[in-house]
């Protein structure tokens, strides 16, 4: 198993405050990894680091031969301007960015791909609706359709099933399993432990640092979850500079 993502002593945060602290480890290519942890544990922060919109304060995130722009990313709260007059079809079509680039028109083939993606998430018939008219769950389905079109080797989903009904989340989980079967690497931040146990072979329990990381059944124990919950959420404005880096100067 080759490593797809490699965290070497990664610290990610905001204004020098660490939200993910000295994380080490590897994610093998083709894994299906759940990332769980209490609110404020740093799950979203870790994802922002992986897709390259947040620079690590220290350490590195190795992507192997992959470029950050080749990762499909579904953020937790999407910053979408829903009043913008764009159709579901065109919006999902932006997922083809890598093949169409700046100019390439959406030809017949692209049209078929988009239609297939919409069908895969159960949004047939919504092509010409503007995105502002979708319900929350339909919106989420549409975002999955775009991820589908991005055809990425690594897919990062931040709490993709929030406020989604059982039927829709079952459909979308099906899609995630399908990606796993296609040997793509899928990372998902989740709060529903039953869902994680049922579908994700591996889990990272995160609480600023890794509390436990490995086979899901061994990670999601009562002890570990309690340990994770003890993590303090708030940043301490009076905190001193982290000593670990000083003791081990950035030689590597």
């Amino acid at each position: 198993m080759t490593a797809q993502l490699k965290f070497s002593n990664v610290t990610l945060g905001y204004d020098r405050h660490p939200a993910v602290h000295h994380l080490n480890g590897e994610i093998a290519a083709g894994s299906l990894l759940a990332i769980v942890g209490p609110n404020g544990a740093g799950k979203s922060t870790l994802f922002r680091g992986i897709v390259g919109i947040l620079k690590p304060l220290a350490g590195t995130i190795g992507l192997g031969d992959l470029k950050p722009r080749e990762i499909a990313y579904l953020p937790q709260s999407v910053d979408i301007d829903r009043t913008f007059p764009i159709s579901v079809f065109d919006f999902v079509g932006t997922g083809l960015w890598r093949s169409t680039g700046l100019f390439g028109g959406l030809g017949k083939k692209a049209g078929r791909q988009i239609a297939d993606a919409l069908a895969a998430v159960g949004l047939n018939g919504f092509e010409n609706r503007t995105i502002g008219t979708l319900s929350g769950g339909q919106m989420q389905r549409m975002l999955f359709a775009r991820v589908l079109l991005q055809d990425a080797r690594v897919i990062v989903l931040d709490e993709p099933f929030n406020a989604i009904d059982a039927k829709t989340s079952a459909d979308l989980i099906g899609l995630v399993r399908h990606w796993h079967a296609e040997r793509r690497t899928v990372l998902a931040a989740l709060h529903d432990m039953d869902l994680v146990r049922a579908n994700f072979p591996e889990t990272l329990l995160l609480a600023r640092g890794a509390v436990a990381w490995g086979a899901t059944s061994q990670v999601l124990t009562a002890d570990n979850l309690l340990e994770a919950r003890r993590m303090c959420e708030a940043f301490d404005d009076g905190a001193h500079a982290c000593a670990i880096d000083a003791a081990r100067p950035r030689a590597a």
Binding site: R69, Y73, V78, D79, F84, T94, L102
Partner: protein
């Protein structure tokens, strides 16, 4: 009769033909830009930038009188610097662009008027503030046409990243680096088209043929392509009818054009098919599914 009112002026007088050509070029370039300004909620930013152009054009005027190239050059420089400054300020400090731009509004206007008055007459001042599309020479017309062409070409290049940056900026950031350059190119286009409008309609009204047609379009179409078509069409129609109105009634041409656009806007607010007032009051019976 109708022929006399609507067509004869353009057949009989060359300056009317030239004005018409100028106004159509303005519509082609400016209206799509206006649509993007509206969709990015930057209409007032556009207005403030129109004022920022004045001191630059005025400095050009100070050095070489009502010289086309000096004033264009000055206006472009001033517009670009303000656009860049405002963009930087908002990117660095998280203050919204419009807030930092609002400060330029009054300062620029006062500065520009002062500079023009230092050398020019009141006629010059009126020319700078309200333009004079009926007195356009060939050179001005060429500059306007050139700018409109450039605008359409660049807009075609940055169209997709621009749209994605409006709808879902985080997505654009994760798939491409094109976001920031596209935004800057767009600001440049805004400036170019404001300078264009400045020649024809003057500082105070330059933004009118960009913002009003966009406002009109919003009431008739739900998708962006349709909006741009309608915006261009309504800008061209306003230009044409405004020229006719100005010819028949001696209303100055710039204000006449903007007044026609404003009238179309009011009609659209009332009767537009997309959330027009009448539509909202009498929506018709609800459907089965």
């Amino acid at each position: 009769m109708i022929y006399d009112a609507l067509i004869a002026p353009f057949i009989d007088f060359e300056f009317m033909r030239r004005a018409l050509a100028g106004v159509i070029a303005l519509a082609l370039g400016g209206a799509p830009i206006g649509v993007f300004l509206m969709l990015r909620r930057m209409s007032l930013v556009g207005d403030a930038m129109a004022h920022a152009i004045l001191p630059g054009a005025a400095v050009g005027f100070l050095f070489s009188g009502l010289n086309l190239f000096a004033m264009t050059f000055g206006g472009l420089i001033a517009g670009f610097s303000v656009a860049l400054l405002a963009g930087l300020v908002s990117r660095v400090t998280e203050i919204k662009e419009d807030a930092s731009l609002a400060a330029f509004y009054l300062v620029s206007l006062a500065l520009g008027v002062t500079i023009v008055s230092m050398r020019g007459t009141n006629i010059d001042l009126l020319h700078v503030l309200f333009g004079n599309i009926l007195a356009m020479d060939d050179q001005t017309l060429l500059v306007i046409a050139f700018n409109a062409t450039i605008t359409l070409v660049i807009l075609a290049v940055i169209y997709r990243p621009l749209v994605i940056e409006c709808v879902d900026p985080v997505f654009l950031r994760t798939v491409s680096r094109a976001g920031a350059p596209a935004h800057l190119a767009f600001l440049a286009l805004v400036v170019i088209n404001l300078v264009n409008g400045f020649h024809a309609l003057g500082t105070l009204l330059a933004v009118g043929l960009m913002v009003l047609p966009a406002g009109i379009a919003r009431f008739w179409s739900r998708d962006i392509t349709g909006m741009m078509m309608i915006a261009v069409a309504s800008a061209a129609i306003s230009g044409y009818l405004g020229l006719v109105l100005s010819f028949q009634t001696k209303v100055p041409s710039g204000p006449a054009i903007i007044l026609v656009a404003a009238a179309l806007y009011v009609v659209s607010v009332l009767f537009g098919t997309v959330s027009g007032l009448v539509r909202q009051l009498f929506p018709g019976r609800h459907l089965e599914a």
